[in-house]
């Protein structure tokens, strides 16, 4: 029968906040069994929010609830020797070990891959860090904003004469989570074939410096072109920009002359279109975009983004509103595609705005089934039923703050 692609893969996540949890979340939704280790105080994301009514509660943090669907949650402190012993026992039942603990010295704890490989030759270990596990900046401290600047993405966002901007909502953490998930699947397919484990060194800065900004390296070597930031427009044939309208903003992109002419026609061929500043639209962007924006603004500011969306799409002009999150939750298209997932959680209640996945499989099941775990919810199920420890040990570990 139809199944899930990653049935029979067991993942142990020793992760915190976003990158490692997002990585294992992607794998959990396709059927992998994920056991998540939290320190006795809980994952950092439990304290981040958003919280219903803005009242902080570690069981109701939106970020945590979303990033940990379908996982089994246990508490464990691997920094304590007993905790480490339990971790080793868990690793015996693990195919993939995902870690993002950049502040810890794994070698000192006896948890680096070179050591683990000897004990678990089939293990696939993944380490997600801001700057990577080798190189001169290996031990630098870094948050999302720091790996964004080193990786180059920040240099491309914002106005040329103002502060460069970091992508919003920890895109670097999420990106690294997706990349690590891809690398893990490659390692799994490799292991299915060879029986050998692997080590994945996932740096957040590398993601920006390669598939994103790395795209522009050859253009620099070849022709000296540097990708710079240019505010709300792209320095190509006018117009490729985000512009304000009556009730928000719209994005319009007309690289082809016929698209530009259709755009003019949709606005009723205003007289200003014959202004000489539009003769060469590359020049328009580079020299006259402020004046040009003002002309467009005459029409844009009189119309709502939905009116503009309809008028321009009917005229086959590439354009769309700049949607906000609440608009997407209410959008007919998104509803018809059943993108958002509803989930009932014992503490946070029912929420209907968990993002789903962008790939609709005809066979593989790819939807979350269970809400995020409460703190330590599966301690007994994992420690006693799965690993065979007794209840007395459990309460002793609790007293010793191992779990």
């Amino acid at each position: 029968m139809d199944g899930q692609a990653l049935d029979n893969l067991r993942i142990l996540e020793w992760g915190s906040f976003i990158s490692a949890p997002f990585c294992t979340e992607m794998l959990a939704q396709l059927g992998a069994e994920v056991i998540k280790i939290e320190p006795p105080g809980g994952d950092e994301a439990r304290y981040y929010g958003p919280f219903p009514g803005d009242k902080p509660d570690p069981e109701k943090s939106g970020l945590f609830l979303y990033l940990n669907l379908d996982k089994y949650g246990i508490t464990l402190d691997p920094l304590k020797p007993t905790g480490r012993e339990i971790l080793f026992k868990l690793l015996e039942e693990t195919d993939i070990f995902v870690v993002n603990q950049p502040q810890l010295d794994l070698a000192y704890l006896g948890l680096d891959y070179e050591v683990l490989k000897k004990r678990y030759p089939r293990l696939i270990m993944t380490l997600i860090t801001p700057f990577g596990d080798c190189g001169p900046y290996r031990d630098w401290k870094g948050y999302d904003i720091n790996s964004c600047t080193l990786g180059g993405i920040t240099s491309t966002i914002g106005y040329p004469d103002r502060t460069p901007l970091t992508p919003p909502l920890h895109q670097g953490h999420h990106q690294a989570g997706l990349m690590a998930a891809i690398a893990i699947l490659l390692a799994v397919l490799n292991r299915d074939k060879t029986g050998q484990g692997a080590f994945i060194d996932q740096s957040e800065a590398d993601v920006w410096a390669t598939i994103h900004i790395g795209m522009y390296l050859q253009a620099f070597v070849d022709r000296g072109t540097i990708r710079k930031r240019s505010g709300h427009y792209v320095p190509q044939a006018y117009v490729d920009a985000v512009l304000p309208c009556k009730d928000g903003s719209v994005c319009i992109d007309t690289p082809q002359k016929r698209q530009w002419l259709r755009f003019m026609e949709a606005m009723g061929n205003p007289a200003w279109m014959n202004d000489p500043i539009f003769e060469d639209r590359n020049k328009t962007t580079n020299e006259y975009h402020e004046e040009a924006d003002k002309y467009l603004g005459q029409w844009l500011m009189e119309h709502t983004k939905e009116e503009i969306f309809k008028t321009l799409q009917d005229a086959r002009v590439p354009s769309a509103p700049v949607r906000t999150a609440n608009e997407l939750l209410d959008d007919d298209h998104m509803k018809q595609r059943e993108f958002f997932v509803s989930m009932d959680h014992p503490a946070a209640g029912k929420l209907n705005s968990y993002p789903g996945v962008c790939y609709k499989y005809s066979k593989t099941r790819s939807r979350a089934n269970r809400p995020a775990p409460l703190l330590g919810e599966h301690n007994e199920a994992i420690y006693c039923q799965k690993l065979g420890y007794g209840n007395e040990e459990l309460s002793r570990w609790q007293d010793e703050e191992v779990i």
């Binding site: 929010g49 240099s155 502060t163 740096s203 906000t324 007919d332 209907n352």
Partner: protein, 411 residues
């Protein structure tokens, strides 16, 4: 090691033995195939003079008209073979079905409905190859009211919601000015194919994957959706602000457009930060004594920080702060990535050779793996492997191939 159409076949790679019919073009449709090829799949790019990849023509990024030289094309089409085959010709479409019969994966990013007209949609292909895995990437998915939208990557980025949060706080959004949705969609597509390959290995089943590029960005902004549902809180342009850190920003340094990022989270980090600055008076003011206070007075705080950073070099500041246990990093642009010692040592880019381009410097994969082999081969010339595809895979004689060229099937 065998040689196939000029391409090294390495059987030790995880995807060795898989063949991919790749209709992908421009960016979102092409990136994933280059990585499948790197890990051993035989990826065959479908090309014809009727339909030349916009990047080969340089139209998309206005970088000249040489078919083989576009820097973006050279990145995105590595590890692929290229065959000329005209799908607009009935015989061309039939031969593509023959090729699919001998393949495992199909990738396409046409406007929804295009392949159906040629009898090359999933239903038609599954008739000749029941266990084919096929991925369709489109702006908003194959079905739904927005399925036939006229878009480019920036438009998708706007529709996905992410652009509404890119900009300076309190101002109009400016949006990502980089094809973010293309890259994220392509990598999500790669993930979905690899999982489908494993599904196939376990069950023998192929399947169809309908990927929406707009939706690909949404899982990266879960916080915004939940904030909206929980508290009706609509998140606007975020700037460089943080809810949990201050200072948290990008600050000017000595030099033209040189910047450094600094982020301070804990009390301990704040004390170290102040120490590096020499504990100036302003750091002792009440309004800067807790994270919450510093966030409340973030504009003034940033002015103080910038007054210090602007007299120093970005690498120098980074070193001073890192030594004190404070997170900082220089801002690099697309030329500086090439000279940064860390990125160099991590080999985030690779030098290569190419018959038409003097020297290539292309990005490497975003992960480093120990225990899984891969390969890196240059992008193919237009139609470079037509001979291999028609003679070795499809079994045509030289004479038949000449005929197909005359009929503009090989075009």
């Amino acid at each position: 090691m065998a040689r196939r159409g000029g391409n090294l076949v390495m059987s030790n790679l995880p995807l060795a033995g898989y063949r991919v019919v790749d209709f992908g073009w421009v960016w979102a449709g092409t990136l994933l195939g280059s990585i499948l090829g790197s890990y051993g799949a035989e990826v065959i790019k479908m090309e014809s003079r009727r339909r030349i990849d916009g990047l080969r023509l340089g139209k998309v990024f206005k970088l000249g008209d040489e078919l083989e030289k576009n820097p973006y094309f050279l990145n995105l089409n590595r590890n692929k073979l290229s065959t000329r085959i005209n799908m607009a010709h009935e015989e061309g479409a039939r031969l593509i079905r023959e090729l699919v019969k001998k393949s495992d994966i199909v990738i396409e990013n046409f406007t929804p409905g295009t392949l159906k007209k040629r009898g090359l949609d999933y239903e038609s292909l599954a008739e000749v190859k029941p266990d084919i895995i096929m991925l369709s990437l489109s702006p908003m998915g194959q079905q739904g009211p927005l399925a036939n939208l006229v878009t480019y990557a920036p438009v998708i980025s706007a529709l996905s919601g992410i652009d509404s949060m890119v900009g300076y706080p309190g101002e109009n959004p400016i949006g990502f000015k980089h094809a973010y949705a293309d890259v994220v969609a392509s990598m999500s597509g790669l993930f979905s194919i690899l999982a489908a390959v494993r599904h196939h290995a376990q069950t023998g089943q192929g399947q169809y994957i309908d990927l929406s590029q707009g939706e690909a960005v949404m899982p990266f902004m879960g916080e915004a959706f939940l904030a909206s549902e929980m508290n009706n809180n609509v998140m606007g342009p975020q700037g460089n602000t943080s809810r949990t850190m201050a200072p948290h920003g990008v600050y000017p340094c000595i030099g033209d457009d040189k910047w450094v990022s600094i982020a301070v989270k804990t009390e301990e980090e704040w004390c170290s930060f102040c120490g590096v600055l020499g504990d100036p008076e302003w750091t002792k003011e009440d309004k800067f004594c807790t994270t919450a206070q510093r966030i409340a007075h973030v504009v003034e705080l940033d002015e103080h920080v910038a007054a210090w950073t602007k007299n120093h070099d970005k690498y120098e500041i980074t070193e001073l702060l890192q030594k004190a246990g404070v997170a900082a990093a220089p801002m690099l642009d697309s030329s500086e990535i090439l000279s940064d010692p860390h990125l160099k040592e991590r080999e985030v880019f690779v030098d290569g050779e190419h018959p038409v381009v003097d020297k290539t410097v292309l990005y490497n994969w975003p992960w480093k793996m120990n225990g899984v082999d891969s390969r890196m081969q240059r992008a193919p010339l237009f139609g470079e492997h037509s001979e291999y595809v028609f003679s070795e895979i499809l079994g045509f004689s030289q004479e038949e191939i000449e005929n197909l060229k005359e009929q503009e099937v090989i075009y």
